[in-house]
């Protein structure tokens, strides 16, 4: 069975998964920044760093959001096909850089935006190719 009917409810779920996905990456980054001054150069220092990061609330917020996204994503995939869901959900490839610029004050050059766009198109093509295979397999 090929499910492709995108209703408003599914579109809202996809939007929520995009926003939460972006939140996950933002939280992980904030968690890693709790020890920004600490430099990791060998395995013991990596453990000290990870210990500090794992006690950061941001990290646990990120992991909780991972669970939430997993549940939302399972719901989405029980209603529509992966090849339809992924292109709509890959909006986070744009959303994460935008959040990086606004909230983390990172800088993104024109060349990098071009690269991000190429990756986005690539991801959409890869997910569309799974639909092609499903149709051939019928």
């Amino acid at each position: 069975m090929f499910k492709k009917k995108v209703t408003l409810k599914i579109l809202l779920l996809l939007l929520a998964s995009d926003v939460l996905e972006t939140a996950i990456h933002f939280f992980f980054k904030k968690g890693a920044l709790t020890r920004a001054e600490f430099s990791v150069f060998d395995l013991p220092s990596a453990f000290v760093f990870l210990q500090a990061v794992f006690s950061s609330p941001f990290l646990w917020a990120a992991l909780l959001t991972v669970v939430a996204v997993f549940i939302i994503w399972s719901t989405i995939l029980s209603r529509i096909d992966l090849s339809v869901a992924v292109p709509i959900a890959s909006f986070s490839y744009i959303l994460v850089p935008v959040v990086s610029v606004i909230l983390l004050h990172e800088q993104i050059s024109a060349l990098r935006w071009t690269g991000i766009l190429l990756i986005l198109i690539g991801v959409i093509l890869v997910s569309l190719s799974s639909k092609e295979r499903t149709e051939q397999g019928k």
């Binding site: 990456h25 980054k29 850089p97 690539g122 890869v126 190719s129």
Partner: protein, 127 residues
């Protein structure tokens, strides 16, 4: 700075590789269960339980924890927008693994898409 970039890219490759191994274990565990037909809560619950008693699923979990730890180390040294974009290289590893380990058939569209992702990562890394 160049050297730092190479180390960061190497670490991102490591997380992507761990993710790929994690996906392969999970996929092989799920395939071995032959889950098909109708979905209902009892069947899904049974399915998850059968998955959880498979050692491969736990191996997959171990790899995702390793991947998370390396990812946190990456984020401590790299910009989020760079790390996030470069992390899409798992698409390349998964494509190669599906093709050569799982022997899945690939369409032309998938190769083009994977090629675009590679080009995109090169652009993102150069800037």
């Amino acid at each position: 700075m160049r050297e730092g970039l190479l180390i960061t890219l190497f670490m991102i490759s490591l997380t992507s590789l761990c993710d790929t191994v994690n996906q392969l274990f999970l996929k092989s565990a799920i395939d071995s269960l032959n889950f098909g037909g109708k979905f209902n809560f009892i069947r899904i619950f049974k399915f998850i339980f059968q998955l959880l008693i498979k050692p491969r699923v736990w191996l997959s979990f171990v790899f995702s924890v390793i991947s998370l730890c390396i990812w946190l180390l990456v984020l401590s040294r790299a910009d989020l927008n760079f790390a996030f974009s470069a992390d899409s290289m798992h698409y390349i590893f998964i494509a190669l693994a599906s093709r050569f380990i799982l022997k899945e058939k690939f369409s032309c569209l998938r190769w083009i898409g994977t090629g675009l992702i590679v080009t995109g990562i090169v652009f993102v890394s150069l800037s």
